[in-house]
Amino acid sequence: MTATVLERPEQTDLDFAGLMKQHQAMVFSVAYHYLHNRDVAQEVAQDVFLSLHRNLASIESPAHAAFWLRKVAVQRAIDEGRRRMRRPQVALDDVAEPAVAAAPGDPLLGETLRKLIATLAETPRMVMILRYQEDLDPMEISEMMEIPLATVKSHLQRSLALLREKLARRHVGER
């Protein structure tokens, strides 16, 4: 039944199952890194693909589909974050101090960074995710989130400075 639904041809040459296979990691990761909750991120990502299925007729090309999916994933993740709490899911104080200072390249540092990003306010958090997960440049982020370029740059600088400060307290990155 599921396979039939996914393979149902729409009024376009775009293959829904193929698009989902190609972009599911991107959509899920935007939601997961923003919401910091696997189950909720999966729900959000599935809803994004549900919307894609409903709007498939208006999608013009695979590149348009990728842009559309990323934009809708960003909007849905922000909406879900607002709906759930209206504040960061992880309080800064809840980020455990590692017993041993993590070094660059350490998996422990990766988890610490993800938790620190989860404590950022909604706009800088999404800016950081689009910059470092999606590798978008500030101009692309500005267009994606419909905010001024200067704001994007300011969020990136401030967030990086904040992370450096927090990590310095943990003696990470001192060489």
């Binding site: 990691a25 693909f49 950081m128």
Partner: protein, 109 residues
Amino acid sequence: MQYPEPDWLEQELKSALARKDPPGGFADGVGRKLAGSGPKRARGKVIEWPVRPARRWIAAAAAVVLAVGGAAGYRRYQGEMAKRQMMQAFFIAGSKLNHVQTHVLEVSQ
């Protein structure tokens, strides 16, 4: 525009925020939602309300007018029926009285 080379923190951020695959069964979950979304909506909404608020108000007002008018009409119909039944009862009682009166007169003569 040229951006400076990423430093160690930016490299770590790219690594920490690398894309991750969703949990297993992701596509099946989407398929289930797709299969369930159509019939569920159809079952949930028995009455399709007009979308625009103005139209909704007009529809609601029309429904109220119809309900009030219908109730008044029904009450009037009930009154008419009661009046007709009472007239019929009077007619039956009158004919009975006439019959009795005729019988009494016959006996007395």
